[in-house]
Subunit: 483 residues, 2 copies
């Protein structure tokens, strides 16, 4: 049931109140809250996973069990980030009368929580990008209260997960108001316009994310909006790789673009193959042998059917498979087009098609491949399959590939997005609305932190991270040098 | 003369072309370019400073000479940031089959230049926030070509400085297209809408900055817009400080709010004094003794006159000085209001008035002071004057002060903004449109860098920062641990 305006108002007021308490919490406090929350979710797995399966049509094993493990791992990784302390970017410049541009006062910089954060959950990851997902984990780690707008695709799971998260947080001493789940489009957009909300995060479609981004930036006081929208995730295969590994490439591609019924933001939607690749029969067979799957919900299925129908009807496109598009279980659709036709073919061919479909683009030579890369829509990932013998042929492609994406992948499929210190999940628009940030990995915490400098302050009024005796033993930069 | 559309188009194409070359430049290359540019500007000081004085009405000494020194120091500081290498945030996670959420591939993260950057120069700092100013220095340091929209207040200085910068960059091997100055509102907004432009930075007024922010966010592909807009910069004085240092506070306040004719983004526009402070006569005398100054240009002067007239006519406000507002040289205007009237007085009292005017707000007790702080518009700075005996009275004010600003200052005036590693110049809107960033100090480079992860890449195709043997000897995080 949608959150009514009175409840929403109470929730946002409580978030605002808890923000002050949270700003005074230590990283160690928050690490404890996150670890306990992870334990509580793990303990509830046997209740949550079947609920998720029921609401999303995703298989329990290995998909939903794996996603839950990813989710609790992510909470624990942020506990490590908090213990590490580098995220505080503690920087101390002592007063210096000889500073070349003129005498310098004592000035010290660290970060504070940005404030109450609104998180919009995704449809396609009911755990990892939803109630207790990456954005929530990163914002809580940063010390921000979270108002979580549930995705309508899994409302009961959201309510239940929300209750578990809330209880775990409060049990370990977090302030009331730190976390609440809200439901309904109106509640979400009202919250997004509320003056108390200081930042918002979103994972979902380009139209949905763009509409919310437009609201966030049109506010009297605009706020950062971290939207992770869409991506075509091109995969370039070079000729020697085709020759050496045709079977693995066909099987891997089928597995990757149909994983989760193609409803991953990193689904490889475009496969760039050299002309004369000789894989057509193998691809056709592999597609035919891949069973149909249900999509997450009717809205997504309808939009997929419309889109695939347009693609099939596109005059330059040839279908390698023509599954029954009206079936409940949707078998994969694979299409091909030449590079020339792709370049002339308009937006339909260039943009993400969410669901089990992919387009093969055949390039005649390296000049045509370069022209393709220059014309692709940017996104989350760009992948290269090549043999060691082709390294020098890849080198000139790297500038174009780097301009295209936030993650470059060598000889592997983009659908695996590991959660680590070095992960980057983002990229130029429409991959995200905030290309200097990531929504996965340790650096995701930075989105919810605001730098502040303290000038000439008495030591006892400084945050611990900046006190002269460094009570938290943080890595710091002192007078321009790393500790 | 305004840049015509053909020239603009040529300039942007050249920037796009140079971006690829720049992405391949090393931090050491760029450090050399910046240092040489600083030397070239210093060498031209005797030509540039008089030109600046003529166009801006700002005094040569110490103001413009000091600002030029600040500007070249800033270029050199970024050369140090480049040599230091931490800005690359090099992070290496080796493949780990035991990674708790599932086997982890080798994944490595660093940053790349965001791409061609459009910088809008400010009126009030013809050097430090203009052609060769902080945004330009940070973007060039990051490896981004810069298209610089000159401020119409100092067009000849902008053209001349631009020529010196461009020549210095090219002399040291930077690619053609790395830096060009453009003129005219149309050229600026056309460039801001151009698909090649990947980020923009701005220093100026709230209405001007907001209009440009709205253009940047409404693009088909929105881009980061780093706008530094306005700030009221409240200064809180506690009772013991008034008693102990009345003379210094009066003199310091007058000096700070009239510095540069009050045309600083960190001008203390609000002075919060305890009721019965007894400073009224001293303030009145000090204001009367402060000579009038010309404003930067007629547009700013007109807008200042309109605004000050409204303030004088506000029914709750009492004027401590009533200088001739139509004079060419504008003497400072000082006004007072009670906390109660200020809280009920509407936007006019709460927002920045650019020019030599300030408002004193009298608070009756600490509860009223807390209420004031909760109601103030956020901004760049918040300042406290207090004696050591009052430290425990300041402590409960800190959460509100921190929520208000990007820099908190103890017993000093906000108009000095030193350039250091720890500096933070930003804050919640309207201080900036990007509260997680700074436009002054070493961290300003981060605005123009985009993180990228390389997954499973052959060592020879990785950027040097991420190669296994760490050829640049960078500080790195390896498998979660700092090197």
């Amino acid at each position: 049931m949608d959150t009514d305006p009175n409840d929403l108002s109470r929730i946002i007021d409580a978030a605002a109140e808890s923000a002050t308490v949270l700003a005074d919490s230590t990283p160690a406090d928050r690490a404890g809250w996150l670890s306990h929350t992870a334990d509580a979710i793990d303990a509830a797995a046997d209740e949550l996973v079947p609920l998720a399966a029921e609401e999303t049509h995703l298989p329990e094993n290995p998909r939903l069990r794996g996603e839950l493990a990813r989710t609790t791992f992510q909470l624990r990784l942020f506990a490590e980030v908090l213990a590490d302390g580098e995220f505080l970017r503690a920087t101390v410049d002592h007063a210096d009368p000889q500073w070349p541009m003129g005498p310098r006062p004592d000035i010290r910089r660290s970060v504070v929580p940005i404030g109450p954060t609104l998180v919009f959950a995704a449809s396609n990851f009911p755990f990892a990008f939803s109630v207790a997902g990456g954005d929530t984990a990163a914002a809580l780690a940063a010390g921000c209260p979270v108002v979580l707008k549930a995705h309508p695709g899994h409302p009961r799971l959201s309510t239940r997960t929300g209750a578990i998260v809330r209880e775990a947080l409060l049990e370990t001493g977090a302030p009331d108001g730190i976390f609440e789940v809200i439901h309904g489009i109106d509640a979400g957009t009202t919250a997004l316009r509320h003056p108390v909300i200081a930042a918002a995060a979103f994972t979902g479609s380009v139209p949905g994310g763009r509409a919310l981004f437009d609201i966030a930036t049109a506010r009297p006081r605009p706020i950062p909006f971290y939207g992770e929208l869409g991506s075509v995730n091109p995969v370039v295969v070079l000729p020697d790789a085709v020759r050496a590994r045709s079977r693995q490439i066909v099987a891997g591609f089928l597995g990757s673009f149909t994983l989760g019924a193609g409803q991953f933001c990193t689904k490889p939607g475009l496969l760039l193959l050299p002309s004369g690749h000789g894989l057509t029969d193998a691809l056709r067979t592999a597609v035919r042998d891949t069973p149909g799957q249900p999509l997450l919900n009717d809205r997504i299925a309808d939009s997929f059917r419309t889109r695939v129908t347009s693609l099939r009807e596109h005059r330059s496109v040839t279908a390698l498979s023509l599954p029954d598009i009206e079936a409940d279980l949707l078998a994969p659709t694979l299409l091909t087009v030449s590079a020339t036709d792709f370049l002339a073919g308009g937006e339909l061919l260039h943009q993400e098609c969410f669901g089990p479909a992919a387009l093969i683009v055949e390039y005649a030579n390296s000049a045509e491949l370069q022209a393709l890369l220059a014309a692709l829509e940017p996104g989350l990932t760009a992948t290269v399959f090549a043999e060691d013998s082709e390294i020098e042929e890849v080198r000139p492609l790297l500038p174009a590939l780097t301009a295209l994406a936030g993650r470059l992948i060598w000889n592997d499929w983009p659908t695996g997005v590991t959660v680590t210190w070095a992960q980057q999940h983002g990229g130029p628009y429409p991959a995200t609305t905030a290309p200097t940030t990531t929504s996965v990995g340790a650096a995701a915490i930075d989105r919810f932190l605001r730098p502040v400098a303290w000038q000439g302050f008495p030591d006892s009024l400084l945050p611990p991270a900046l006190r002269e005796d460094n009570p938290w033993r943080l890595p710091r930069r002192i007078d321009g040098k790393r500790d």
